[in-house]
Each structure stands twice: as structure tokens, then as C-alpha cells.
């Protein structure tokens, strides 16, 4: 046997082993336990990223750090283990048919998790009555948009950079953006920051732009509360460079001119276009009698299809248990505001928007697993009953 075949055989044996499956399941249990504990301090988003979407992590256990494989690595190996050991190498026959089907169901479950991680986006669209919007924005993810404006200051087209591409930028390690009509350098990046006026009694280590500067803050466990900020440099007309400050919660973008064209540099929550527009016609909220606790709230919206080109509008009611499924998107009635609104005050409605190609896969997975286990244990039961019947017959 050649060395390659020997190594390959060993690799397949390892990847298909029950021992590996056991170790991986134990690790998943450990990650789930530690992640649940950490959630109290770091919040759901951060824990999900560190413990379940990572390849590795170092768990902070007081004075020492414990290196652990991340959920992404563990689940990836588990997928391979199930595929190689539980499907490919499993002897096919009536005896193992149920197990084979159950393993396939588990593979679908893991695949749905990966597809959701890799492909799904979620966010919200917030509307006052009368507002119409054909896009939604992320709760947590930030992007830097470079928007080209026309002579009247109206946005035309845009280049968008996710925060993953720019995070970590610092004076010693700036992010130099190429491919734009002008040079753009990100010299500072803050995952969460406040913008403050610079007073005369203190100095700061970052540029002061028109009297204000960005001060880094600790990340908020509620990821949607984090407000990234960045310092940007662009060439100015004198051959030098101009420094601008952008902030995820600023009221307007930083506007510059380059080559006779105006651009707006906007740090904002990630935006995703929708193939249809949603207009909020009526928002309805009913409180429990004598309280301000809502018993029911729903949004009557008009959905206008743009994808078909016909601009067909139709009314839809979205309530708490009645989402709108349209063009691969699911819109749920998520919340409303402003909180503590007085009677008669104008309210807005927030619709959660989810685009997950694997939306229904977990349901399919559970059904397949249930079918597989039913077949396997049903067959075992039948065999047992027959054996007992034969034994009684012999007796």
C-alpha cells in the first residue's frame, strides 16, 4: 500500500470515527455552556460571533485563558464526520436505512446552519404612517458608503465597504481604499465611539475635526447600540489631504469634492435593497385595559412590486404571528415606538426583515430525522416482538 493511500485511509478512518463524533459533541456542549454564561456579559451577538461562528477562541477563565476550537470548526468537522462515517461508509441496507435517513437529517440541519451563517441577512425597516421604503438595514452591521452626488446634491450611485474590511485601521496600519474616483484612506477605526467637542483643558491623541473628535468606548453588549466611527483622509485641492470624521449615528454624511464631483461619505448600518416597496398605511396598537401594555399591534401596509415591472400594489396586514413572505424575504411585526408615547402621539412601526435561503430547512431536517428514527426503532420493535413471539411459540 502506498504512503498516500495509507495516509488517506487513516484520514478517512479518523474523520469517520465514532470517537471523533463523541469528542465533537462534547465540545459543542462545552461551547454552548460557556457561550451561554458569557452571554450575560457580552451579549448575544458577540457571543455568537466568538463562540459559534469562529474557528478557534480563547475562553477567559479568570487568570488563565483556555484555547478551544470554535463552533464553526467543530460543526464543520461534525458535518464531515457525519457525511463520511454516517452516510458514505455506512453499509447500506434495510438494517441501517433508518440510521442513514437520520444522519441525512442531521446533515441538513448542519447545512442549514451554515447557509444561514453564510447567506442570510436580517435587519429592519422602520416606518411612520405614510412612509414608503424599498430597503431595509441591519441592526448590527456597519458599512462605509461613498455616495456620488449630482449637482443638486442628490445621491446617484455608491460604493459600499463592510466594517470587516475596514476594522482595525490605525495610523500605523491604515486601510487604503483603491478603485474609487479619488484616494481614500481610513486612518482610525473605532468599533464603538462617542463624538465629543474638544475643550481647551485637555488634549486628545486623535485628529480634531472642526472642534470635535471621536473617543473610543467599550463595546456595548447590545451590539445594535455600538456606534462605530472612523477618521478618513482624502486629497484636498491644495495637494494635501483633508481629514474627516464619520460616525454611525451622525445626522448627515461628510461631503467632499473631488474632480469636480461631490461625494458623501456615510458611515451607517448596512443597507439592503428589497425587490418591492412597503408603505405603512395604518399602524394599530391595542393596549390591555387600563394599562400601557400592548395586547396587540399590527401594520397595514401596501406592498408594491417593482421586480415585475408592473408596479402592482396590494394591501397586506402584518401582525405579530402573521409575517409577510415576499420574494424570498420574510417581514415580521417586531416592535413599535417611540416608547412611552402619549395617547394620540404619532407612532412608528418596526418590521424585522429576514432573508434566509435556509428558512425552512430546520423543519425539513427535523421531519427527516424523525422519519429515520421512526423507521429504525420501528424495525427494532417489530424484530423484538417477532423474537418474543417465536420464543413463546417454542416454549
Amino acid at each position: 500500500m502506498s504512503a498516500v493511500a495509507r495516509i488517506g485511509g487513516g484520514l478517512v478512518a479518523v474523520l469517520s470515527s465514532m470517537t471523533l463524533a463523541g469528542v465533537l459533541l462534547v465540545l459543542l456542549g462545552v461551547l454552548t455552556f460557556l457561550g451561554t454564561l458569557e452571554q450575560a456579559e457580552f451579549g448575544l451577538y458577540e457571543v455568537q460571533r466568538r463562540y459559534f461562528e469562529s474557528l478557534y477562541l480563547v475562553h477567559d477563565a479568570g487568570p488563565i485563558g483556555i484555547p478551544l476550537p470554535g463552533g464553526g470548526l467543530v460543526m464543520g468537522l461534525l458535518f464531515v464526520n457525519l457525511l463520511v462515517g454516517g452516510v458514505v461508509r455506512l453499509r447500506k441496507g434495510r438494517r441501517t436505512a433508518g440510521i442513514l435517513v437520520a444522519h441525512l437529517g442531521m446533515l441538513i440541519m448542519l447545512a442549514s446552519g451554515f447557509v444561514e451563517y453564510a447567506k442570510s441577512v436580517d435587519g429592519h425597516v422602520t416606518l411612520y404612517e405614510g412612509d414608503e421604503r424599498a430597503w431595509f438595514q441591519s441592526y448590527t452591521e456597519t458599512e462605509l458608503a461613498v455616495v456620488e452626488l449630482d449637482a443638486l446634491g442628490r445621491p446617484q450611485r455608491e460604493w459600499v465597504f463592510t466594517d470587516d474590511a475596514l476594522a482595525g485601521a490605525a495610523p500605523s496600519a491604515p486601510a487604503i481604499v483603491t478603485g474609487l474616483p479619488f484616494e481614500l484612506t481610513v486612518t482610525h477605526w473605532f468599533a464603538n465611539a462617542d463624538v465629543l467637542p474638544k475643550g481647551p483643558m485637555f488634549e486628545v491623541a486623535v485628529p480634531v475635526v472642526d472642534g470635535v473628535f471621536a473617543r473610543a468606548s467599550e463595546r456595548d453588549p447590545q451590539a445594535e447600540r455600538n456606534a462605530p466611527a472612523a477618521y478618513l483622509e482624502v486629497p484636498d485641492a491644495d495637494g494635501g489631504h483633508a481629514t474627516g470624521l464619520v460616525w454611525a449615528f451622525d445626522a448627515a454624511p461628510w461631503t467632499i469634492s473631488a474632480g469636480g464631483v461631490r461625494y458623501a461619505l456615510d458611515l451607517r448600518k448596512e443597507r439592503y435593497p428589497m425587490p418591492f416597496a412597503v408603505r405603512l398605511d395604518t399602524f394599530t396598537k391595542e393596549d390591555h385595559p387600563g394599562t400601557n401594555m400592548p395586547a396587540w399591534f399590527s401594520s397595514d401596509v401596501t406592498v408594491t412590486e417593482h421586480a415585475s415591472g408592473a408596479d402592482v400594489a396590494r394591501p397586506v396586514t402584518i401582525s405579530m404571528n402573521q409575517p409577510l413572505r415576499e420574494e424570498g424575504l420574510v417581514l415580521y411585526q417586531a416592535s413599535w415606538g417611540p416608547q412611552g408615547a402619549r395617547p394620540g402621539q404619532r407612532l412608528f412601526s418596526t418590521l424585522a426583515v429576514v432573508n434566509n435561503p435556509a428558512d425552512q430547512w430546520p423543519l425539513v431536517s427535523c421531519l427527516v430525522i424523525a422519519a429515520g428514527l421512526l423507521v429504525h426503532f420501528g424495525r427494532t420493535l417489530v424484530r423484538y416482538v417477532r423474537r418474543e413471539a417465536n420464543r413463546e411459540g417454542r416454549a
Binding site: 487513516g10 478512518a13 479518523v14 474523520l15 469517520s16 470515527s17 470517537t19 471523533l20 474557528l55 478557534y56 470554535g70 470548526l73 468537522l77 462515517g85 461508509r89 455506512l90 453499509r91 422602520t126 416606518l127 411612520y128 441592526y139 452626488l149 449637482a151 443638486l152 446634491g153 445621491p155 446617484q156 450611485r157 455608491e158 460604493w159 475596514l166 482595525g168 500605523s172 496600519a173 491604515p174 486601510a175 481604499v177 481610513v186 465629543l196 467637542p197 475643550g199 481647551p200 483643558m201 485637555f202 480634531v208 472642526d210 472642534g211 470635535v212 447600540r225 460616525w247 449615528f249 451622525d250 445626522a251 448627515a252 461631503t255 456615510d266 443597507r271 439592503y272 402621539q345 412608528f348
Partner: protein
């Protein structure tokens, strides 16, 4: 393990037990000689994978060691791939796409960009103009005090680092306001705000910004943009009226239009604006009076009187 007193003690008993276990084969599996239960083949045997059990292959003893090595390799690879080196890095721009959003106020000054709350107001302005901020954005909205304290952001009435020092003056300026004007609450990035006119929709305020405040021409163009009008041409800028103000020369503009949209997204029909800009040393002073067209016209004289009263604090 029970020890038979007649067997010669604990030591020999342990040796016998070890010998017995060894005869069962590796890892406690039944030896080949051990009888198996007829008619009930084991689907899984201890220490063997499902596939191996089905194929009847012998267990590969180095499997776990190989697995450990693979896991270690994966860990090292992931660590090395995730480490981000120091030094400049290049980010390639993606293809441009059509703008996604509802529009925004281009050309806003730094003060206006950071001086307003990011929360959609009750009037729906912020949500309508595309900021789409969440209600809890309020935790970041607004500027903190100049001593570097925690951001306040409770409302637009939060005082700034340039807090007013007296009723008729601020850190940078002194003034004499017309008796008809009512001083409003302190606003972020504003020296002072007055309510003028009778409708409650007109106001006059003064801002003092560092440097050129983002560009004097850019600010004037933005003011025009608030009335949905094209930016000033060079000729128009050159012909703008100039008055003596703050020991220097100030540019004065008058703009009107069918619709005015403020920074917060609030709209006003048939509106007008009186504005003045003056550069003083390292700062730029902006004075702006906006409101319904007829009320603004009625305030023109008082506006100029107010400009004339402005003095620098030295």
C-alpha cells in the same frame, strides 16, 4: 474485584485479573474465542466506528492520534490566517451600485452632523430622510460636555462645550437681541437660539465653528439645497451683499422657496432664510434666521440689527 482468601492474596489476584483482561483482546473487546450472541449481530462494537463495524475492518490504532494532529493543524492554520499584520493594507472598492436609501442632507457642517439626535423624532423626520436610526440610538445621540464626560444625548437641548456664559453672550460672542425675540433653550453646537415671529415656526440661531466650518461656500450651497435650489455660481457668490460685522466683513444671503427642509427633516412650505457668515480668527460665525416667508421678511430689519450688535469676546 473480589479477592478469594484462598487465592494467595491481593497481588496474585491483580495479576490474574490483568491476565484475564489481556486475554479479551485490545481495549476490552471480546476475544475471538469469546462466544457472541447468535442471531443478534452488534451494530456497533466498543472502540470501533460505525463504518468499521459494518465493514468488519480492524480498528486502526493511530486514528485518534491522527485526529489530534489534524485538529492541532487546523488550529494553527486558523490562528495564522486570522492574525492581521501591522502596516498599511489595501481595500479594493467593489463595483458601484445604485444608491440605496431615501436621500440625505449633503453638505452639512460638522456641527450639524454631530449636533442633532440620531433618533427619529416624533415628526418622523429622521426616519423619513433615511437615517432610519433605532430608538436606542439615543444612547449615543448628542454630544457630551467638554470635560470629556459621558455623552448625554437626552435631547437637543443638551448644552455643549461652548455653553453660554451669560444671557447676552457666549464663550465667543456678545449680542443685543431684539426685544421681540424670545431666547430658546440651549441647543447643541449653537451659541444661542431665538424664537422669532408669531407662528412658532421661525427661529434665529448663531453657531461658531472651528476653522471655516466645513467651508463657507459649501455651507451656503447647503443652505440653498435646503430649499431644493442649485448651488451658488461663482458669479452669485461674488455678488453677495457684504456688511460690517464682528470687526470684519460678513456675507449675507437671502434664500426663499416653496419648501424648506431643516436638518431634522422638518419641512416648511413657502419659507425663507436670512443668513450671514463671518470669519473671525480661527473660527467662523454663522447666523441663520428661517421661517415662513412673510415672517422672515418682517424680521429683516431686526436681523440686521442683531448682526450689528454682535461683538467678539476677547
Amino acid at each position: 474485584m473480589r479477592v478469594d482468601p484462598s487465592s494467595g492474596g491481593v497481588g496474585p489476584a491483580i495479576r490474574r485479573e490483568r491476565s484475564r483482561r489481556a486475554s479479551r483482546g485490545p481495549e476490552g473487546a471480546p476475544s475471538a474465542a469469546a462466544p457472541r450472541r447468535a442471531g443478534r449481530p452488534e451494530l456497533l462494537e466498543r472502540g470501533r466506528s460505525l463504518s468499521e463495524a459494518d465493514r468488519g475492518r480492524p480498528r486502526r490504532g493511530r486514528g485518534w492520534r491522527t485526529g489530534t494532529a489534524l485538529a492541532g493543524l487546523a488550529l494553527v492554520a486558523s490562528l495564522s490566517s486570522c492574525s492581521r499584520g501591522a502596516g498599511p493594507r489595501t481595500v479594493e472598492a467593489p463595483d458601484a451600485r445604485p444608491f440605496v436609501g431615501d436621500g440625505f442632507t449633503a453638505g452639512a457642517s460638522t456641527a450639524e452632523r454631530f449636533g442633532l439626535r440620531a433618533v427619529p423624532p416624533a415628526s418622523g423626520g429622521a426616519a423619513a430622510n433615511g437615517s432610519g436610526a433605532l430608538p436606542n440610538d439615543a444612547t449615543h445621540a448628542g454630544l457630551g460636555d467638554a470635560s470629556g464626560g459621558a455623552p448625554n444625548g437626552a435631547s437637543n437641548t443638551t448644552s455643549t462645550g461652548a455653553a453660554t456664559a451669560a444671557s447676552n453672550g457666549s464663550q465667543h460672542l456678545r449680542w443685543t437681541a431684539p426685544a421681540e425675540w424670545t431666547r430658546g433653550p440651549e441647543r447643541m453646537m449653537r451659541e444661542v437660539t431665538f424664537a422669532v415671529g408669531t407662528s412658532g415656526e421661525a427661529e434665529c440661531y448663531v453657531s461658531v465653528l472651528g476653522g471655516d466650518g466645513g467651508g463657507i461656500a459649501a455651507n451656503l450651497d447647503r443652505w440653498r439645497g435646503q430649499f431644493d435650489r442649485a448651488p451658488f455660481t461663482e458669479a452669485e457668490l461674488a455678488s453677495l451683499p457684504r456688511i460690517d460685522c464682528l470687526d470684519t466683513v460678513a456675507l449675507v444671503v437671502e434664500i426663499d422657496g416653496e419648501r424648506f427642509e431643516g436638518m431634522g427633516g422638518q419641512a416648511l412650505e413657502d419659507a425663507a432664510m436670512l443668513g450671514a457668515v463671518a470669519s473671525i480668527d480661527t473660527h467662523t460665525v454663522f447666523v441663520k434666521l428661517t421661517g415662513p416667508r412673510d415672517e422672515v421678511a418682517a424680521e429683516r430689519e431686526r436681523f440686521h440689527a442683531f448682526l450689528a450688535s454682535l461683538e467678539r469676546v476677547r
